[in-house]
Amino acid sequence: MALDSDDIHIATAERIFADHADLQAVAHDRAGNYKAALWQAVVDNGLTLAMLPEASGGVGLSLDQAFDLLRAAGRWGISVPLADTMLAGWALAAAGLEPREGKLLPLVPAPRGKLSIDAAGRVTGRCAEVAFGREAEAFVALCDGPDGPVIALLDPSICQIVEGTSLAFEPLDAVSVDGVAVSSAPAGGAVTLPEMAATARANQIAGALETMLDISVAYAIERKAFERTISKFQAVQHLLALLGEECAAAVAAAVSAGDTLARGDSGPALLLEVAAAKVRCGEAAEQASAIAHQVHGAIGFTAEHPLHRLTLNTLAWREDYGTEAHWALALGKHVSAGGADALWSLLSDR
């Protein structure tokens, strides 16, 4: 379902993912030994810089191309903090701070945390669930400051990390902060870090659903039961049609939100697009993975088969940077305050 197969950057990224994170090979690598080489290749090829403007050391990708790249990462079920490091680097640049190399993780407190910074640059607070938190070489935190939102670069030495595990068996850690930031600045353009992060996860989910659709259709065409391939049963065809529809909706919503951020839209339009993407991709992840498993039967339930990686990653990504309920509530509050004509103006302006 690639919109972007003609894009050389995406093609390069897909080749790296194919070399280092083949779905089947990863499914067999229970210890996660593939991750070190994958991360090295991702860094060496500049993928972590994809959201940076060229002037700040970026690789010349537009923001919507960067989101396309994350969708490609989703297609391979990539579970190293590529999106997260991209986002953290972007936030530093958007706040006018010096770039920082290495594995950066953003701290986006809402809705599961709170971080404050005082006039002396001391950051205090806690984020309950930070994907890959323990791996951070530095954190880039969105904090409440005395005069508005602030982006702060934090050394992990001032953080206390309590390790936890995500649905996808990946690191999901609590991070408590108490100490002085390495550097900080008013957030400026980085005030949309929550929207950027939610859109990033939406694109990762959408990508994973594209692969889920591909492998489920391929499996139905190949698998025989009752003397026919199961693709010939109308019940199975209709299930797969629904999977295709959910996948299409997820891609459309995620791409539209990425396009909105790339255009620099803000206010209610940005809320609508991002909330729709995170909500719709989360919903699609549930429906699509349930169908993919139903079509695959018992084999899809095994650790040997790669389907579980797609399923668990998409379902885990729902949790990051605001759940469906969080974004739906924000959008619903805005809509119920305005009434029907305001709603229609908002929708039709897009």
């Binding site: 379902m1 259709v217 459309a252 039709s348």
Partner: protein, 386 residues
């Protein structure tokens, strides 16, 4: 990867958004003049004529059609904007809607020149209402089983048989109907159907309205007793109507009418809950808006593909399936949310009356113009499963 479904993030160009403001001003003026009431769910057909004439005077019926037939040659995206504004405002477009959306384009593509020259200007002037004669008493979604017959006679054709579930036939000036001209062949079940333009005032036509679940009469049974049609009324190829019918469907399937039929229910709901700070209501509402926005973006994307001359058959079926399932469920979803509101904070009886209309009518949304099951079959074909 392997499966190719496209939903590019098409944005409507500025000239479309300018037109949108013009349409909004026009609708506000019509409401102010009492031509229609956006809070009334169904207007009697007789009351729709004035509105159709006013829309025609703006040049918004057949607006994308060739100039030689009276059209404006405006883009498919501009038509999309006019259409969705009318739907969102619940404007009564029934007098011309079917003709504008699909009958006119079919005539332009397949009809004889004398028919085009005579009928298209009538549509554009808001003077021609069309109905679609496809289903029969013994064949609904299975169009290949159609038995109503057209027999070649000197100078024309004779029609015999019946059509059913024909929306608006009692008010229609014309029908585009599917009639059997030959038996299907063993190799090709689709062979033998031919499309005709039928003047509904012809001798031998009897229209019997059918009362529906809503209490209204929209459906009809239409009987043909030796009805004569001149040769000019043949549309397209004899025995080859099936291909014509399917190419028409990409236009029919993906429009905003596939998820805005119950927008009146959303309007009533938003009026009732305005300013609510109940997080359950707002969260539920937010989800519905997220879904609605996503479908509209997909629908606009398909409109962009049609404008670019592509034939997005699978994508259109996806929009219609997602859209109609959502549209049908909307009254149910809103019911769950409004139940959380204090009964004293809105007019419960008036609200129920409006919502009951939508609950009754919603049952048809996943049937008309291609059922859920037909659509999923088309999507499955697009995925390479059939």
């Amino acid at each position: 990867m392997s499966i190719s479904l496209r939903f590019d993030p098409v944005r409507l160009p500025d000239y479309c958004q300018d037109l949108r403001q013009e349409v909004r001003a026009f609708i506000a003026e019509q409401v102010a003049q009492g031509v229609f009431d956006p809070n009334v769910e169904e207007h009697p057909f007789e009351a729709l004529d004035g509105f159709a004439k006013a829309v025609a005077a703006k040049g918004w019926i057949g607006m994308a059609w060739p100039r030689e037939y009276g059209g404006q040659e405006r883009s498919f995206l501009e038509r999309y904007v006019v259409n969705e504004e009318m739907l969102a405002a619940r404007a009564p477009t029934r007098r011309y809607f079917v003709a504008d959306r699909q009958s006119g384009p079919t005539l332009i593509r397949y009809a004889s020149e004398p028919i085009k020259a005579r009928v298209l200007p009538q549509i554009i002037a808001g003077n021609a209402t069309f109905c679609i004669g496809m289903s029969e008493p013994n064949s609904g979604s299975d169009l290949f089983a159609a038995q109503a017959k057209a027999t070649k006679v000197d100078g024309g054709w004779r029609l015999n048989g019946a059509k059913i579930w024909t929306s608006g036939a009692q008010f229609a000036d014309y029908m585009i109907g599917l009639f059997r001209t030959s038996a299907p062949t063993k190799e090709n079940r689709r062979h033998g159907l031919t499309s005709f333009l039928v003047d509904m005032r012809s001798e031998g036509i009897q229209v019997n309205p059918i009362r529906q679940i809503t209490g209204m009469y929209e459906f009809n049974e239409v009987q043909f007793d030796n009805v004569f049609l001149p040769d000019d009324n043949l549309i397209g190829e004899i025995d080859g109507a099936w291909k014509q019918a399917t190419s028409e469907l990409a236009y029919e399937r993906s429009g905003p009418e596939r998820f805005l039929e119950t927008f009146g229910a959303m309007r009533a709901f938003l009026a009732a809950v305005q300013g609510s700070d109940d997080p359950r209501i707002n969260e539920g509402l937010g989800r519905l808006i997220a879904q609605l926005h996503t479908m509209r973006r997909m629908s606009v994307s398909v409109a962009g593909m049609l404008e670019a001359g592509r034939e997005p058959v699978t994508e259109s079926a996806i929009v219609k399936d997602l859209g109609t399932v959502w549209d049908k469920a909307l009254p149910k979803e809103l019911r769950g949310l409004i139940s959380l509101m204090d009964y004293d904070s809105y007019d419960v009886a008036a609200y129920r009356e409006r919502m009951d209309y939508f609950t009754r009518m919603s049952t048809k949304l996943t049937i008309q113009g291609g059922t859920t099951e037909i659509l999923r079959g088309i999507v499955a074909r697009g995925l390479g499963l059939r």
